[in-house]
């Protein structure tokens, strides 16, 4: 068990090396070829984004309608909440490795694993979001003669968007983080830099960490922007003054 | 503008009550053009209820909250029991002032007993002393001792409000501040609470600053009433009777309402009026005698009474057709009013019962006289009614 150590033995220089690796590449530790460099990093990033996007897309297709409909009718609360709790407790590392072992490696299988990971937060959040819509508002809408579909799309969904998007953002954070472990399932994502110090060296590990962090932050900002766009101005005002 | 004399400090009925004096108090909020309270000066003698009343936004709540420094004074001073509130540490000051608000604000996570014991606990009282005081207070506000272990969520609105009052009284404060305390209650419970608070005040005689927007409540509850208008100005500071009979300006007159005369009835008791007399009859009396009395009477109906002159009912012509007065009269003696009843309630009873005359009895149940709507309206129109002063100390209440 190593003890905590900070400066002067802290290795700040490695961050410089890592940046160099990202932009310019370097000699591989083993085979005599160049690794790193912007285009290689970009490829890894794209793969990670691709897998994340696929998993999120499938997850949203499954979880959001289910959560919204269950939430509207108030059914299946135990299921929705329990799936959320279970999903939180599943260790992602175990999930990825198990999936790789059970159903094999490759993009498809990784995507399946990531989709399973993506569903619980979105399911629970969309359920809760629909349940939390002010009952009086829904009553008023019904009283005006709106059909169920209209109530859901015109009244409940717009009001539920913030919480639903919260679930989407939580999911995406989890998925992009777990996608880093893609190499364990045979998919080369930015995790390759982290999991193969033999090839990329310690600076590779740091480089991978930096890239993953930046990627995750950018993704989160984009989603925050999407949420802002999707949230009606009136709702934004109401939440701000609350 | 401030009228009425106040008893000097020292005449405080032997309780801990202190006087509250506003000296040219002004409150200005930064960024707002006009002050919330403007040059307010008034004196609340110890042991009296002063009601601050006015339309929304007139500054009455702000004025009250400056006494315990929930709102800080911009200019001027407020003296409680002769000491300026600014000279005291705010938290210490507040522990000596009872504070009751409209939402009650009971602590949901503490039992009723723990709520009541909040300030004594802060002041470091012993455990048994707090327990004793808590049961004393629960009794005082008309709640059962078993409610002490309940949580606020288990109480009705009226019960919560009583606990709020008990909590404010716990450390036996010099002054009580009450901000629309009965506003959130239904009218029936509100009237009961008002009456009970007045009864309580009769026993404990605290100095109370009471804020309300309801002029009827102000007149009912206040020994003195301060009418405020928008901009934080004091329009009139007087006893309720003076307010009704002599409004200082058009605003006060409008605010008090066109039904001033009717409002005065809530300041009077039945005994304040000269009642008419009805001819009385006893069971077994000869009807001829009775008919003779009837001939000359103010009230054209005969009242059957028992040997103690307690009313049994009204006799009809059919009753008097026989030789002697029968035992059971045709009409019951309803409504039956008490001498000490508030005149306004008595009038309401009369109108509701659709009878013209109502028997009035005294404390022992003996017939005192008969009241009718006619008597009341005659009285209201009389010059005597216009001049009569109703001293603030005698408050009719149920």
């Amino acid at each position: 068990m190593t003890t905590l150590q900070l400066a002067p033995t802290a290795d700040f220089g490695i961050f410089g090396d890592a940046i160099h690796l990202i932009f310019h590449g370097q000699q591989a530790q083993t085979a005599g070829r160049t690794v790193g460099g912007i285009s290689a990093i970009w490829d890894l990033t794209l793969t990670q984004l691709k897998v994340t996007g696929l998993a999120m897309g499938c997850g949203m297709l499954i979880a959001l309608p289910a959560g919204v409909i269950l939430g509207h009718f108030g059914r299946g609360e135990f299921l929705a909440i329990s799936i959320g709790n279970l999903g939180r407790a599943v260790p992602e590392l175990g999930l990825i490795i198990f999936m790789a072992s059970a159903i094999g490696v490759g993009v498809l299988n990784l995507t399946i694993a990531l989709t399973i990971l993506a569903i619980p937060p979105m399911l629970t959040n969309s359920f809760v979001a629909m349940r939390q819509v002010d009952r009086d508002t829904v009553q008023a809408a019904r009283g005006m003669g709106m059909t169920t579909r209209e109530v859901i799309t015109a009244v409940e969904l717009p009001l539920a968007i913030p919480t639903i998007m919260g679930g989407v953002r939580t999911s995406s954070t989890n998925v992009v983080a777990t996608a880093t472990l893609g190499p364990l399932a045979g998919v080369l994502t930015l995790g390759d830099l982290i999991l193969q110090p033999a090839v990329y060296g310690q600076q590779g590990v740091v480089a991978g960490a930096i890239c993953v962090a930046v990627l995750a932050l950018i993704l989160e900002l984009c989603l925050a922007g999407v949420q802002h766009l999707l949230t009606s101005p009136g709702l934004r005002l109401a939440r701000a003054s609350a | 503008m401030a009228t009425g004399s106040a008893p000097r400090d020292g005449e405080n009925n032997g309780t801990d009550a202190a006087s509250v004096v506003y000296e040219h108090v002004t409150k200005r909020y930064p960024g707002q053009e006009s002050p919330a309270v403007q040059d307010l000066s008034l004196e609340v003698p110890a042991g009296e209820i002063c009601v601050l009343v006015g339309p929304s936004g007139c500054g009455k709540t702000t004025a009250m909250r400056m006494v315990n420094r929930m709102v800080e004074i911009t200019e001027g001073d407020i003296k409680v029991g002769g000491t300026s509130v600014r000279d005291r540490d705010a938290a210490d000051l507040r522990r000596e002032i009872g504070y009751v608000i409209q939402q009650v604000g009971l602590f949901p996570h503490r039992t009723v007993a723990a709520n009541i014991g909040t300030v004594p606990h802060l002041l470091g009282w012993q455990h048994d002393r707090i327990a004793a005081r808590t049961s004393e207070l629960l009794d005082l506000v008309g709640l059962g001792a078993d409610l002490g272990d309940r949580y606020p969520a288990q109480l009705s609105g009226g019960q919560q409000q009583r606990v709020g009052v008990a909590r404010a009284l716990a450390a036996d404060p010099h002054v009580m501040l009450m901000d629309e305390p009965f506003g959130a209650i239904d009218p029936i419970a509100r009237e009961r609470l008002q009456n009970e608070f007045l009864r309580l005040q009769g026993e404990i005689r605290k100095t109370v600053l009471f804020v309300t927007h309801d002029i009827d409540e102000a007149i009912k509850m206040g020994d003195r009433v301060a009418v405020m208008k928008n901009g934080g100005h004091l329009a009139q500071f007087a006893t309720p009777a003076e307010l009704l009979m002599d409004p200082a300006d058009d605003f006060v007159e409008d605010f008090v309402g066109a039904d001033r005369a009717l409002k005065r009835l809530s300041l009077m008791r039945v005994s304040d009026i000269d009642l008419w007399e009805a001819p009385l009859a006893f069971v077994g009396q000869a009807t001829s005698e009775v008919k003779l009395k009837l001939h000359r009477a103010e009230v054209p109906h005969v009242l059957l009474v028992d040997s103690q002159r307690r009313p049994l009912g009204w006799l009809s012509e059919r009753d008097l057709a026989g030789e002697v007065v029968p035992e059971h009269p045709d009409s019951p003696a309803e409504p039956r009013l008490d001498r000490d009843d508030v005149m306004r309630d008595a009038l309401a009873n009369l109108l509701q019962s659709e009878t013209q005359y109502a028997a009035v009895v005294d404390a022992s149940g003996e017939i005192d006289g008969v009241l009718s709507v006619e008597i009341i309206s005659e009285f209201l129109g009389s010059p005597e009614a216009r001049e009569e002063e109703h001293p603030a100390a005698e408050r009719p209440h149920d």
Binding site: P91, I194, A216 | R95, Y99
Partner: protein
């Protein structure tokens, strides 16, 4: 492109002549589990530490931040933003950004895991404080409670349900996340999941189930704690 990592391909294939659950790398072999459960004791204990310490530390830090943000509202967005950004950074990346600075090992893992709990706990404490009824606060101040007496005696107790809800979410997440401590040599049940050798399903499943069991045990304990410290919520309304 570098070849795909050998890890994934390292699935235990039956190269022996025997058959049966273990050699065939069946999904879950109860006999193996019964025989080898003591392998998991030390990692489980390590895992407990990796969960309990970050939660406690995270709670203390988040509580401090929340009290500050509660008193000075303008601090809320920056603190929320900072903790949020730290939360967004994938934990594995965070581990490896820390290692050059403070080395590998259990402490590094604990620090990273603590930072992860901050956002959710901070948000929940603030939400709980915001939901305290305004009447209770006004009455409390008016009766002469000082700011601190109001905070500790009224506001925080009433915020407890939301605080504990946040703690429950944080503790379950931390239990799952703590498996990644293996990457920085922090121990825990992650060592039984990512063994560095061929994947043996039973070991993997057992370790994962233990992680989830730890998560739910803590969750249950916190739920019990909540029931204990909030007796007024159980009172049936009149």
């Amino acid at each position: 492109m570098i070849e795909a990592l050998p890890y994934a391909a390292v699935v235990l294939h039956n190269r022996t002549n025997e058959s049966g659950c273990v050699p065939d790398n069946g999904l879950f072999c109860p006999s193996w589990a019964a025989d080898n459960w003591h392998d998991f004791v030390t990692p489980s204990l390590q895992h407990l530490v990796l969960v309990a310490v970050p939660i406690l530390l995270g709670f203390v830090i988040a509580l401090g931040l929340a009290i500050v943000a509660h008193r000075r509202r303008w601090l809320m967005p920056p603190i929320l933003g900072a903790t949020g950004a730290l939360y967004t950074i994938p934990s594995i990346a965070f581990f490896f950004l820390l290692t050059p600075l403070i080395g590998r090992g259990r402490e590094t893992a604990i620090i990273a895991l603590t930072v992860y709990t901050l956002q959710i706990i901070f948000r929940n404490i603030l939400a709980g404080l915001d939901n305290v009824p305004a009447g209770a606060k006004d009455a409390g101040r008016g009766m002469g409670l000082t700011q601190n007496q109001l905070l500790w005696g009224v506001e925080l107790p009433l915020a407890l349900p939301e605080i504990i809800a946040g703690l429950r979410i944080a503790i379950v997440s931390t239990a799952a996340l703590a498996t990644l401590a293996v990457f920085v040599g922090g121990g825990g049940l992650g060592t039984e999941i990512f063994t560095g050798s061929k994947v043996f399903n039973t070991r993997l499943i057992m370790a994962s189930l233990l992680v989830m069991a730890i998560a739910f045990c803590f969750d249950g304990l916190l739920l019990l704690l909540q029931r204990l410290v909030t007796p007024w919520r159980r009172a049936v309304p009149a």
